[in-house]
């Protein structure tokens, strides 16, 4: 089953553990399932006004940046991390 790593503050506010195992599916389905298991996680992850993940969060799937947003299909053995999106200079 795909593994979702829950950000620390979301763990504290929803009581979710560090890692949650969710059946395979699209990223959107997975986040919905997370909400059912640990109510409050949807608001931690999703933008309140628009149908997308909070812009300040980047989603890494198996260490790679995700460009397909919520429609991305997650593989059986994948890991999902929500990390603060970060800017760079030169």
């Amino acid at each position: 089953m795909p593994t979702v790593w829950i950000p620390s503050l979301a763990q504290r506010s929803t009581g979710a553990p560090e890692k949650v195992y969710i059946p395979q599916g699209s990223l959107r389905q997975i986040i919905r399932n997370l909400e059912e298991l640990h109510p409050g996680l949807w608001n931690e992850i999703m933008d309140q006004d628009e149908d997308r993940i909070k812009p300040e969060l980047a989603v890494a799937i198996d260490g790679e940046t995700n460009h397909f947003g919520l429609i991305q299909q997650i593989e059986e053995t994948s890991e999902i991390h929500f990390i603060p999106a970060i800017s760079g200079g030169s």
Binding site: S8, K54, G63, I86, S87, S90
Partner: protein
């Protein structure tokens, strides 16, 4: 003296150091930077800026200025369209466009000394300056806060009445609202394991508190924008920017224009380092142009660059690290409170995510706070957030090693991150070179050279930063004489035109001199992310390679036509197309290029990259200093910067990036700071008193390029630009500690603070 620790170079072009295509223009003064632009009928703009760190604007009277001879237009916030409170992706920095609009021109409040209040366009710069003194502004001065500690105190004056602390690290944006009203815009927490239990089992625990000051990127060329609002509503902006497309989005959203009606032409840039990603005067120059019907150019002077563009955060930090006597780190706890400036958006999230990366840890807790203060809004500065956090961690690591009686590099090696270990965010490290860099330090001539004499010391430090991904577009064209044109959307800050050409040349088996690279504007090339975030040679390189591969596939089809066979029978090796069906059927790339017109027409191909396997890189620095205990002056005697570059693309320019970043870090460590008086004035906003390193302050900066290829790029290239500024703050601090036996925990470590530390030691 520089060296690369790889053995033989496996590529023909990659890894060499050809002369830059655009260097000739720069050494003859012909290259055109944004500041150099002249257009017929052009007016000169100048910005009136707040003299107060925090005030409400009661009234602005521009009538006298408007009546002044030679003044063509004056604008204030009433001329700015109200921008939707929208958060969107702004290149690699997220932005709330309403707040960005307020940064360009204050709304009802000024939040820092230097905040823009009104802008004038006049026939020449002198008349514009005269006009500023004729604008009358009535302020209600409010109390201000200038440090994170002041800003977080109970009862501190609030910068934004509507700001409540968001519980996810965010810039200009929403997180989960805690409902707590304060100047703390957001809080981030990254935890793993159980730090309390782990500290309890440690033989050595060191905890230190640090304070660093705001510092500026220090580019020599000031911010500049020239705007022309044509009668048909089409707006053109010429500017020195790191990313034309981000500026186009910012300006179109700020002014309510469609993106196709805004063209941004990137000029050559005189230094960016992250500070030239956002536009400060584009919207106001555009509005002045609309009002006057003429091009308007606005250039910041040096004082404005310091006081009104975006430096990086000052900070208050704590780091606590524990270890057992066999040299294993048990736990690490880090607290970072970063100045955001006037609006939310410090790089505290990046600092939190990067500072512990050189160490494989199970027990860690990192807390970060984004705190608004009455200072200019911070902007990205080369690995934003990371150098300060690395100062805290790497000096405490050094102190733990010292208490354990271990060599600081051996201590690091014992805990070093390897492929398969997890970052604090949980993401697994792919192939990375932490161990390789640390071993290169141990084997280096510098590290093995004795350092003798009183008040001399050696310090080392590691650092980590990831490479940017983000999308880039490249277009490759084949000329009939076998030369190649390459257009990308990547602004060339320091030689990327050539580093990109080299990748195309390597794939095609030609020389970089046979390629002519140029930078497109927002109308002439597809969307490309900003040149920053250590992404250009990496991501735009991938786009260029992809486009080149499309060209090769097309040319195989042409060869197949000529040889009356199938494209699958054609291979491309050593710059030659060969048919597997007939060994006599061969064309060099050049020969086949000459036949394109006759086999279907000219060839060009465009491709967009959006890499997912984005790499990261480690750097490690060694610094020798001598401290004059009478004057407090620190002389850097010797400096070696080591870095995993994956695979050096342009070798000399890789070295250059490492050297440049290291020296910015040395300046940050020893001398640079925003010196504030109690009323919120930056007292040292000139190059005389904002003391950046000169040639006289430094030795040669030796570099060692370690090459652990990145799996995310066809040639293994890693981004190199930002990592080198991460280790130097701690490397210098550790060297000073070794020299005088005192650990300084406040930056800058200037003569006054060295003398004070020596005095307190007794």
């Amino acid at each position: 003296m520089t060296s690369t620790s790889s053995k033989k170079n496996k590529y023909s072009v990659i890894g060499t150091s050809p002369i830059r295509h655009d260097a000739l223009g720069r050494v003859t003064g012909k290259a055109k930077y944004g500041v150099d632009l002249r257009l017929t009928g052009m007016l000169f703009g100048k910005t009136l800026r707040s003299p107060h760190a925090h005030a409400r604007i009661i009234k602005i009277d521009t009538s006298k200025a408007e009546a002044h001879p030679g003044v063509r237009a004056v604008i204030t916030t009433k001329d700015m369209p109200i921008v939707k409170d929208e958060v969107a992706d702004f290149g690699e920095t997220m932005a709330n466009y309403r707040l960005l609009a307020e940064l360009c021109l204050a709304n009802d409040k000024v939040l820092y000394k230097g905040h823009a209040v009104a802008v004038v366009a006049a026939d020449n710069i002198h008349i514009a300056e005269e006009a500023l003194s004729l604008i009358e502004v009535e302020y209600e001065v409010l109390p201000s806060v200038l440090t994170v500690q002041e800003s977080m105190k109970e009862g501190a004056p609030l910068l934004h009445e509507q700001l409540t602390t968001r519980a996810v690290a965010a810039r200009f944006t929403r997180g989960t609202d805690t409902g707590v009203q304060s100047n703390v815009a957001s809080r981030i927490l990254i935890e793993g394991g159980d730090v309390e239990a782990a500290f309890a089992t440690s033989d050595v625990v060191v905890e230190r508190e640090f304070n660093t000051k705001m510092v500026h990127q220090g580019y020599i060329e000031p911010h500049n924008e020239t705007a022309f609002w044509a009668p048909d509503g089409h707006l053109t902006i010429w500017t020195s920017t790191q990313g034309a497309f981000g500026v186009r989005t910012q300006i179109s959203k700020t002014l309510g224009l469609s993106e196709s009606h805004v063209k941004v032409v990137p000029m050559e840039v005189g230094g960016g380092f992250g500070g030239k990603i956002r536009s400060y005067m584009g919207p106001t120059a555009a509005l002045l142009s609309k009002k006057t019907g003429r091009p308007v150019k606005i250039v910041m002077n040096r004082k404005e660059v310091f006081e009104s563009s975006g430096p990086t955060s000052g900070s208050n930090m704590r780091a606590k690290i524990g270890a057992t006597k066999d040299g294993k780190i048990t736990a690490a706890q880090v607290y970072l409170a970063y100045e955001a400036g006037a609006y939310p958006g410090s790089p505290v999230g990046a600092g939190a995510s990067t500072c512990l990366s050189p160490y494989n840890l199970q027990n860690f807790s990192i807390e970060g706070l984004d705190v608004v203060v009455n200072k200019p809004q911070v902007s990205a500065y080369r690995a934003p957030g990371s150098p300060a956090a690395a100062l805290a961690v790497e000096t405490v690591i050094d102190e733990v090693a010292e208490k354990l009686g271990m060599d600081p590099i051996d201590f690091r090696l014992k805990n070093a991150t390897k492929e398969g270990d997890r970052q604090v965010s949980g993401v697994v490290f792919p192939r990375i070179g932490c161990v390789e860099v640390e071993e290169a330090i141990k084997n280096s001539d510098h590290y093995n050279s004795p350092l003798e004499g009183k008040n001399k010391g050696r310090g080392t430090a590691m650092g980590w930063w990831f490479n940017g991904g983000n999308a880039s577009t490249a277009m490759v064209t084949v000329n009939s004489d076998g030369t190649v044109g390459l257009v990308t959307g990547s602004v060339d800050l320091a030689g990327t035109r050539t580093a990109l050409s080299m990748q195309v040349a390597e794939v095609l088996g030609i020389t970089p001199e046979e390629i002519y690279p140029s930078v497109g504007d927002t109308d002439s090339i597809g969307w490309t992310g900003p040149s920053g975030g250590s992404r250009t040679t990496f991501s735009t390189g991938i786009a260029a390679i992809q486009a080149t591969n499309i060209i090769i596939d097309e040319m195989k089809k042409r060869a197949a036509l000529l040889w009356e066979t199938q494209p699958e029978d054609i291979s491309f090796v050593n710059s030659t197309f060969i048919s597997s069906k007939n060994s006599n059927d061969k064309f060099s790339f050049k020969e086949l290029a000459g036949k394109l017109m006759g086999t279907g027409g000219p060839l060009s191909a465009s491709s967009t990259s959006n890499p997912t396997q984005v790499g990261s890189a480690f750097g490690g620095h060694i610094c020798d200093v001598e401290v004059d205990t009478d004057t407090g002056k620190v002389t850097v005697l010797r400096y070696t910067a080591l870095q995993d570059v994956g695979q050096a693309a342009h070798k000399a320019y890789c070295e250059s990036q490492v050297q440049g970043g290291a020296v910015q870090g040395i300046g940050w460590a020893l001398n640079e700071e925003y010196y504030y008086t109690n009323d919120g004035t930056m007292a040292n906003s000139t190059f005389l008193d904002y003391r950046m390193p000169t040639a006289l302050d430094l030795p040669m900066i030796d570099t060692i390029l370690v090459e652990v290829p990145s799996p995310g790029h066809p040639f293994g290239i890693r981004g190199v630009g930002e990592v080198p500024i991460v280790p130097p703050l701690a490397a210098v601090a550790n060297a000073i500690a070794d020299a005088i036996g005192v650990r300084l925990t406040e930056l800058p470590m200037n003569p006054a603070s060295i003398l004070a530390a020596l005095k307190n030691k007794k």
